[in-house]
Amino acid sequence: MEHSFWYLHMPIAGVEIFWPGLVLIGFSVGTIGGFFGMGGAWMVTPGLNILGFPMAFAIGTDIAHIAGKSMVSTMRHSKFGNVDYKLGFVMLFGTMFGIEIGAQMIMWLERLGKVGPIVRWVYVGFLALISFMVFYDYYKAVQSKKAGRIDGEKGAEGITWYKTLHKINLPPMIHFKTAGFTCSAWLPIGVSFITGILAGFLGIGGGLLRMPALVYLIGCPTHIAVGTDLFEVMISGLYGAFTYTLKGRIELVAVFVMLTGAAIGAQIGTVATKYAKGYGIRIGFGCAVVACMASIILKQYGFDVAAAVVILGAISAICVYIISIMFKGAAAELRDKKERERAAAAFQN
């Protein structure tokens, strides 16, 4: 039995995992997620797979760690009344059903022996889309800066698709008090069903799709959309964890290692947002996504070590950058605070 110090035996999947890589992935997801305000779960499934987890285990473990991570943030949002529970519960049907379908698809692909390549290629497409969005966003911001516009574009006002969709008169019609609109229950159920499939299939929270859908298709006010989306992420994480565990595709040890890393990273990431300036960091984010995509392709063609080096290198680079922002900012703040106190003390004397 090779019980070398750097490798941890995963009892269920039966693989030896380079545990510092596991800690690093958890920590990076926390840091990057906390900093950019979007989950970061997109790097966990490919990351775990590259470290040596079988694909189905990577997805199950990813979705379970999302459940743990989203508990606290959902509780915070519900305290501020940002969650429309009625909407959340209606969407729950679609989300859970969708996740089950996504998970069943994974199990089916696993039986056919095709789960690895298919999920990897879907991820490549998915990450290509994210990186395109990030770079496009940056490009637009630079353009509008050049043109002298300061506030950028406010795209949300122009889109009123939800007004048309609200006219669909398919019973049951439901009034959502907190969000403040009435529509057919099938509209939120349909939206959550599609995001649920994606979440169950890729092992992500699904917020990337659900958030804009809540705003543009369902007509939710943005702050309610954020809270309700978090609530759905929590539910989808919990249900996903349950169903993937029931299918035997989860590695609890890895979930716990990653959650610990993520909790610490998330604090650093959120504190760093306080001191971050400008759009430059977005480029770094986009590059991390591209690196992740490249490493998935490397893995697909059998270059396992190269894939691990690329993905771990990229996420640690961006983490180091965020941490340096945090430490510089925090040090400056604490210095200022001390100086103010000293000045106040001198003034009193």
Partner: protein, 99 residues
């Protein structure tokens, strides 16, 4: 944003069509994959308990997994809150630059 959102929608619909198509093309030769945790290699008592549970009672294992993950998440959240409030940084007046 509108164009981007439309692209996301298009991407998802393409996937939802392509994946089942690829699966069907592969044909049905499915045998379920069963995983048995190798409890002979687990040394810790807790690890052994969970690995045994995995082999014998998957439902209970699933309940444990969800409860423990959720509980640990909440525990970490509150612990981190306490730690961060001790650093002396002002975390209440965070100005969010852009989301």
């Amino acid at each position: 944003m509108r164009a981007l959102f439309r692209r996301i929608l298009a991407f998802c619909s393409v996937i939802s069509v392509l994946v089942p198509a690829a699966v069907w093309a592969a044909g049905e030769k499915a045998a379920m994959l069963v995983v048995v945790a190798d409890t002979r290699r687990v040394t810790s008592d807790i690890g052994k308990y969970f690995a045994d549970l995995y082999n014998t009672n998957m439902w209970l294992f699933a309940v444990w997994a969800v409860v423990l993950t959720a509980g640990y998440g909440v525990f970490l959240g509150f612990t981190m809150d306490i730690i961060m409030s001790r650093t002396g940084l002002d975390l209440k007046s965070r100005k969010i630059i852009e989301h």
